[in-house]
């Protein structure tokens, strides 16, 4: 039975249900225990499962990530909360050199079923060290899967899949989405990794957007509809492996592609999708594809500057208009 709950509740419910189902699942991170995490993602779970399974850690990102690897190899299913994605830079070796690789180099003798959860993206003046969205690094790393839900329903279905997956999964939580509400089934369900969702159908142009950019794009699509422009919005949901087929189908229909991407442009997910589409369906593109990303700068603190560098719904709409006006 579905009911309207917040993103963060859906995420929590997914974790709770998996912890009830599978005693090998546990959560570790700074403040995940009695305090219930930085954004209250694990609120109440410690009361239910105890401190053995909601393990507060020191500020030791490398050890958190590496301890998760060791535990996962032994049959546990750790969920390691690294708080902000920005802090994962301290744990890249364990994430990308160890978690991602040990199954392969051991020739399949070990597997590393774990989830690294990280909050990502813009919020209010989080500034240079707390606004990261460099998940393209994880996408670039063989052995990792990357998930970025945009709705409460996806948050729940994807965390469950991430936990059940036998390989390491990066699960990204966009800070602007925690309080967004949506319909979510009460019972456990899994959204398969690697499957996109068409969040809005349209005929004139395909937007590929993830995380908070999905909502921005839907808002823009609404406005553009009034101008007679019909936009299709696709949310890959899983960024690695991404659902190329759904994207190609859409582009073949609309003939136009805009990627709306919160990460940076160079070697980012937007560039990846554009490259993928032209390599595989250039003939179906009526105009050059475009991308709207965060400007290539360290993130400034002050709101006017911060707002200036990020995408927003108006900018998405403007990018669509510009693209459709460009030479065919």
């Amino acid at each position: 039975m579905a009911r309207r709950i917040r993103f963060i509740e859906a995420l929590r419910e997914g974790m709770r249900q998996e912890m009830e189902r599978d005693p090998s699942v546990f959560i570790m991170g700074e403040g995940v225990g009695p305090h219930g995490s930085a954004f209250k993602q694990t609120d109440g779970l410690c009361a239910q499962f105890g401190e053995e399974r909601l393990r507060d850690t020191p500020i030791s990102e490398l050890a958190i990530a590496g301890t998760a690897v060791g535990a996962a190899m032994m049959g546990m299913r750790p969920i390691a909360d690294l708080m902000w994605i920005d802090f994962s830079m301290l744990a890249m070796d364990q994430i990308c050199n160890q978690a991602a690789k040990l199954r392969y180099i051991s020739n399949g003798q070990v597997k590393v079923p774990l989830v690294y959860r990280m909050s990502t993206g813009k919020s209010k003046s989080n500034a240079a060290h707390h606004s990261g969205s460099f998940y393209s690094w994880f996408i670039n790393t063989p052995g990792l899967k990357v998930v970025l839900p945009s709705t409460p329903n996806d948050a729940k279905g994807l965390i469950i899949s991430a936990i059940r997956d036998d390989d390491p999964v990066i699960y990204l939580e966009h800070k602007l989405l925690f309080n967004v509400r949506g319909d979510v089934p009460e019972e456990p369900f899994a959204i398969p990794l690697g499957v996109a969702e068409v969040k809005r159908e349209g005929t004139d142009l395909t937007i590929v957007a993830t995380g908070a950019m999905v909502g921005f794009s839907l808002t823009a699509a609404e406005a553009l509809a009034k101008e007679g422009i019909s936009v299709e919005v696709i949310d890959p949901r899983t960024l690695m492996p991404y659902d190329g087929a759904t994207i190609l189908t859409s582009v073949r229909k609309t003939g136009n592609l805009l990627c709306v991407e919160e990460g940076f442009r160079y070697c980012g997910f937007g560039s990846e999708i554009i490259a993928f589409v032209v390599e595989n369906a250039m003939d179906s593109l009526r105009r050059p594809p475009r991308q709207l990303t965060t400007m290539h700068t360290t993130i400034p603190f002050s709101p006017p500057m911060e707002d200036y560098v990020f995408p927003n719904p108006e900018r998405v709409a403007a990018a669509v208009r510009a693209l459709l006006k460009s030479e065919a």
Partner: protein, 318 residues
């Protein structure tokens, strides 16, 4: 320590306290665009350490760095305006509460990543040594940071290279919601100095005289090429981790007890006992600090925001 210094320490602590309390108000009034980590209750550490630094000595600090900036000589206006995201702030609004700089007086950055300032300070000290100066670098960081790899690698390197750096660990008993004993395997963080063959002391961080004395010793070592020192200053974080945190995780009575050991109150009493200060002198100093903080807050609020496009200045072509 002469009387002038005694009073100066008090003044610095008052300046920090009043500035932070202004920020708390500004935050409540929506003038600070994000959660800020205030330094109330830890003032004796910034004051006791920085009082002995020269203007060409340098520091790095953390997410909880307002106090260190004030103590090192940053005008309140520039600090508060930055926290309020104004163009007149010390970083023109680019940095914000966790990223304060003023290199011409040695504020080489408060840094938002826990522990990250420790190697940076080590590098500053390396430059000071290679440039054959007797300047000194100070790294302020929390108890939580002492469990991070950056701490270990930096202290080892600084010791091996005998760098002029003082590592000041402010043990305020919490790292976010996690009490220090739940995450830290050693009773006294100062004892970790032994792992690096450097002196380590643990002092009461609410007693500015203790902090001062420990710093004095560390400074003289650093200036004379004898290498780094680790100072653990034990204190208590009387506010939440950030403004808005209700800190429900505190132990019963803990806060009240800490409030009774207020660093400003302690020093005030001491100076009165020593005959250096009268109640009314204190009131005057407090009023002066408060006025300055209010003025700084008004300055900040009256200051313009940076223009949006300023975001792209200094971004070079890349």
């Amino acid at each position: 320590m002469d009387n002038a210094m005694k009073v100066r320490l008090l003044e610095t602590m008052l300046n920090i306290r009043k500035a932070e309390l202004q920020l708390a108000i500004l935050y409540k009034n929506g003038k600070v665009p994000c959660a800020a980590h205030l330094y109330e209750g830890q003032e004796a550490i910034a004051a006791g350490v920085c009082a002995q630094l020269r203007v060409d000595d340098c520091l790095t600090s953390t997410h909880r760095g307002h106090g260190h900036c004030i103590a090192k000589g940053m005008p309140m206006k520039e600090m508060i305006a930055e926290v309020c995201a104004r163009k007149t702030g010390c970083c023109g609004g680019k940095g914000g509460t966790m990223h304060l700089f003023k290199p011409d007086i040695g504020v080489m950055g408060t840094i938002g990543i826990v522990g990250a300032g420790i190697p940076v300070a080590t590098g500053i000290a390396l430059a000071m040594k290679m440039q054959k100066t007797d300047r000194v670098a100070v790294s302020f960081f929390g108890d939580g940071a002492a469990n991070n790899g950056a701490f270990h690698e930096s202290l080892n390197l600084a010791s091996v290279w005998k760098l002029p750096v003082i590592f000041v660990c402010e043990n305020n008993r919490y790292a976010t919601s996690v009490a220090v004993w739940r995450s830290t395997s050693v009773e006294k963080i100062g004892d970790r100095a032994a792992s690096y063959s450097i002196p380590g002391v643990t002092v009461d961080g609410n007693c500015v005289d203790e902090v001062y004395a420990a710093t004095e010793a560390a400074l003289s070592r650093a200036r004379t090429g004898q290498g780094p020192t680790l100072i653990e200053a034990v204190t208590y974080r009387v506010r939440g981790h950030y403004e808005g945190d209700d800190a429900a995780y505190r132990k019963q009575g803990e806060l009240t007890e800490a409030r009774e050991h207020d660093p400003i109150e302690y020093w005030k009493q001491k100076l009165i006992e020593d005959g250096v200060l009268r109640e009314e002198d204190f009131a005057a100093l407090a009023a002066k600090a408060e006025a300055e903080a209010e003025e700084a807050a008004a300055f900040a609020v009256d200051s313009p925001f940076p223009a949006p496009e300023e975001a792209l200045i200094l971004t070079a072509q890349i």
